[in-house]
């Protein structure tokens, strides 16, 4: 099963089980979304539960908040994470705070799905990774799946969660695990064990990281596409890295992170998003607070550069396996 099928499966299962789950967004109804994630849902559940919207991200999220206040559980699609900014006020000032400011009288169980990250030559308007803009907001949960099995379980968990969830789908992973070797043939999901996805309903709990590779030499903290880049970098450098797929950025599974770094004494953080005030900064701060006396090397951050996401220079920007590999070696030698 591909990521797309897994994500669609999660919505299908949720809509089947709960009449209050509705799905909508730009091109999300009849056509089934530009990435096909909602394909077939309108035919199966009718246009009142899966429908097209005007091109207004503010409108999509604002309407979803009103629906959630009524008692529905909207799972909406923003076509690209790069397009979410018109909805930012609705997410930050409204969705995130509704439970708090009304003392629980009104709540906002919505999921805002959006394709994130680069690797598809999408330029600056189809490549961004804005997760830190959401982890910084009190009242939001932020999820980034890295494989079909997690994507389905995490999306079902997000839809069932009583609070708003920002669900970032690494678009370069939709059709296969991508390790950053853009010049090699694309690997399909069918060859990956995490593409085997249980039928029907299951939940991958929010706030739990997964150790993708056990190791002793250092800890890599990654999420989304970077999990595969880190795996490639470890394999190519021969560094015995412990690779942690965070899966949920907020709430964060600090316990798993701390146990690993205390064991290895070294930590490399990898994300596609820009460096400054990125989520890696938060991770670095948390790791040094909890593991200072276990650290044998400075914490390294390998990220996108602090420029807008370029077009022609995509692979100079993208923190690929060579750059991550150098960081692993440098951290090991430090």
């Amino acid at each position: 099963m591909t990521m797309i099928e897994a994500i669609r499966g999660a919505m299908d299962v949720s809509m089947e089980r709960d009449d209050n789950v509705v799905v909508f967004g730009e091109d999300a109804g009849y056509f089934g979304g530009v990435f096909r994630c909602t394909s077939g849902l309108q035919r199966k559940y009718g246009a009142s539960r899966c429908f097209d919207t005007p091109i207004s991200e503010l409108g999509i999220v604002g309407a979803a908040i009103g629906m959630a206040a009524y008692g529905l559980k909207p799972c909406v699609e923003v076509q690209f994470a790069d397009y979410v900014y018109p909805a930012y006020d609705q997410i930050v000032s409204e969705a995130a705070r509704l439970r708090y400011r009304s003392n629980g009288e009104f709540t906002c169980p919505i999921v805002v799905r959006m394709p994130t990250g680069g690797g598809i030559f999408g330029g600056q308007t189809h490549s961004q990774s804005p997760e830190a803009l959401f982890t910084h907001v009190a009242g939001l949960k932020v999820v980034v799946p890295s494989n079909p099995r997690d994507a389905k379980g995490l999306l079902i968990a997000s839809i069932e969660d009583p609070d708003p969830v920002i669900f970032l789908e690494p678009k370069r992973l939709y059709n296969g695990p991508f390790d950053g070797h853009h010049d090699r043939p694309v690997t399909p999901w069918s060859k990956h064990e995490l593409s085997e996805t249980p039928d029907g309903h299951y939940v991958t709990p929010l706030g739990k990281a997964a150790i993708r590779r056990q190791g002793q030499a250092l800890t890599v903290l990654a999420y989304g596409t970077m999990v595969y880049v880190a795996e490639a970098a470890a394999a190519e450098t021969g560094v015995d890295a412990e690779i942690i797929d965070l899966r949920t950025l907020l709430p964060l599974d600090l316990e798993t992170i701390v146990a690993s770094v205390r064991k290895t004494g070294r930590c490399v953080i990898v994300h596609e998003a820009t460096l400054t005030s990125g989520f890696g900064a938060e991770l670095a701060a948390l790791v040094q607070e909890a593991c200072f006396f276990h650290l044998e090397a400075p914490i390294a951050r390998i990220t996108g550069w602090d420029t807008p996401y370029p077009h022609a220079q995509e692979w100079d920007y993208f923190p690929g396996p060579a750059r991550v590999g150098r960081a692993l070696l440098a951290t090991l030698e430090a």
Binding site: S56, A69, Q90, R101
Partner: protein, 410 residues
């Protein structure tokens, strides 16, 4: 061909500024009773003119005239008068409480009492308002306890919102009063979403969005109109045009459009304009629009033409940007006085009874305030706990917040 003259930049200005003579000659006021009352299923195209007129019921003599008259009994009108008087007395006391340091902030309704008080009477249990900060009449007219409102204003130990919200940002699901954000316009599209949900579930309830003249310039307003139009949502979209957005006159948001109601026409939304200081007209229009929504006839956009007599908030001084006597010149008069005169004209009220009623509502407000103050005011007495500050961010407190609560020593 002559060369075109250099381009000129245009910034609208109100007719008069402080020191000038108030002038509302540009506000065209039709005679009471002169605007027709279409059937609720009238084609929006056939009633476009109603977005440019002003529906009025009470005339200069205090009589109810024309096709929009007659939606309320004398008893209901007397009750409506009491609601408006209560809101006014409530405002006066809370304004004073803010000056006494019992709360940080307050926003009064002076001059706009009819809009929310009369509208509330057109709603059914289960309907949902998405209000702004100047519709407390929805709560007063709905019978929500004033003590609860004051507990919220004082952020005291009985504050239903646990001290988390700015004063007057009430929330009451039971009253059909959605939590006020304080960010402008955001709730307008949420009201449309709520109404869409009601339609999706084949329910019978409707939603009501509220916005001020100034905030109609926000994108949220336009998204709300687009969605309401596209999905024919069972929603009433209310624009309270009180002429002033803090110091900014309504022309800055309205621009070249004739009226705010006319904004609905481009979206194919039925649009009405009504005398916001006329309790009977507000109620009649509210009845008409809520009935349309409930009968699946789609959204209605209503502009209430009114005037903000008081300051924007306790942090504002209007004498810096508009003539001090402007409110006295406002051609639509005072909503309380107009309803009072109507009831007197009908032989159902008198000056003596009015004085007596004023004393009664003041008593009610004062005793509510005494009760609320027993539970504390912003800087003295009982207050919400520091622990409350950490609760309710999520349904279940995540580990990082538990750690922070521990660090805070609570």
């Amino acid at each position: 061909m002559t060369q075109p003259a250099p381009l000129r930049f245009y910034v609208p200005e109100p007719a008069v500024r402080p020191g000038g003579q108030p002038d509302f000659s540009n506000v065209r006021i039709p005679e009471a009773g002169s605007v027709r009352r279409p059937e609720i299923d009238a084609d929006p195209e056939s009633i476009r003119d109603l977005a440019f007129s002003i529906i009025r019921v009470l005339d200069r003599n205090g009589d109810a005239v024309g096709p929009w008259a007659g939606t309320l009994t004398d008893e209901e009108l007397a009750e409506g008068l009491k609601h408006m008087m209560t809101l006014r007395a409530f405002d006066a006391r809370m304004q004073m409480a803010q000056r006494q340091g019992k709360t940080s902030f307050y926003m009064q309704h002076m001059g706009e009492e009819a809009v929310s008080c009369a509208f509330r009477r057109a709603l059914e249990p289960g309907d949902m308002n998405f209000p702004t900060y100047r519709q407390a009449g929805l709560l007063i007219a709905g019978g929500y306890p004033m003590v609860e409102m004051m507990n919220q204003i004082f952020s005291n130990e009985k504050d239903p919102l646990k001290g988390r919200q700015l004063p007057v940002m009430y929330s009451s699901k039971e009253q059909g009063f959605f939590s006020i954000s304080g960010n402008l316009a955001t709730q307008f599209i949420q009201a449309v979403g709520w109404a869409m949900a009601s339609a999706i579930k084949n329910d019978t309830k409707i939603a009501v969005g509220w916005i001020g003249d100034g905030a109609t310039a926000e994108s949220d307003f336009h998204a709300a109109l687009a969605f309401a139009s596209t999905y024919r949502a069972p929603v009433v979209l209310n624009i309270v045009n009180n002429q002033w957005a803090i110091s900014t006159f309504q022309g800055i948001a309205r621009g070249g459009s004739g009226t705010f109601a006319a904004r609905g026409l481009g979206f194919g939304i039925t649009a009405l304009r009504v005398d916001g200081n006329d309790y009977l007209a507000v109620h009649a229009v509210a009845k008409w629009a809520t009935e349309r929504a409930r009968r699946n006839l789609g959204p209605t956009l209503i502009e209430y033409v009114t005037y903000r007599v008081g300051a924007h908030s306790t942090s504002d001084d209007p004498s810096a940007y508009r003539p001090k006597t402007e409110s006295e010149q406002w051609p639509l008069g005072d909503p309380v006085l107009r309803l009072k005169n109507h009831l007197i004209a009908r032989g159902r009220w008198s000056e003596e009874r009015h004085k007596q009623a004023e004393a009664e509502v003041l008593d009610d407000v004062i005793s509510a305030q005494k009760e609320a103050e027993k539970h504390g005011t912003l800087h003295s007495g009982g207050k919400p706990s520091t622990r409350d500050m950490f609760e309710g961010v999520f349904a279940e407190m995540p580990p990082h917040l538990r750690r922070q609560r521990q660090q805070a020593g609570v």
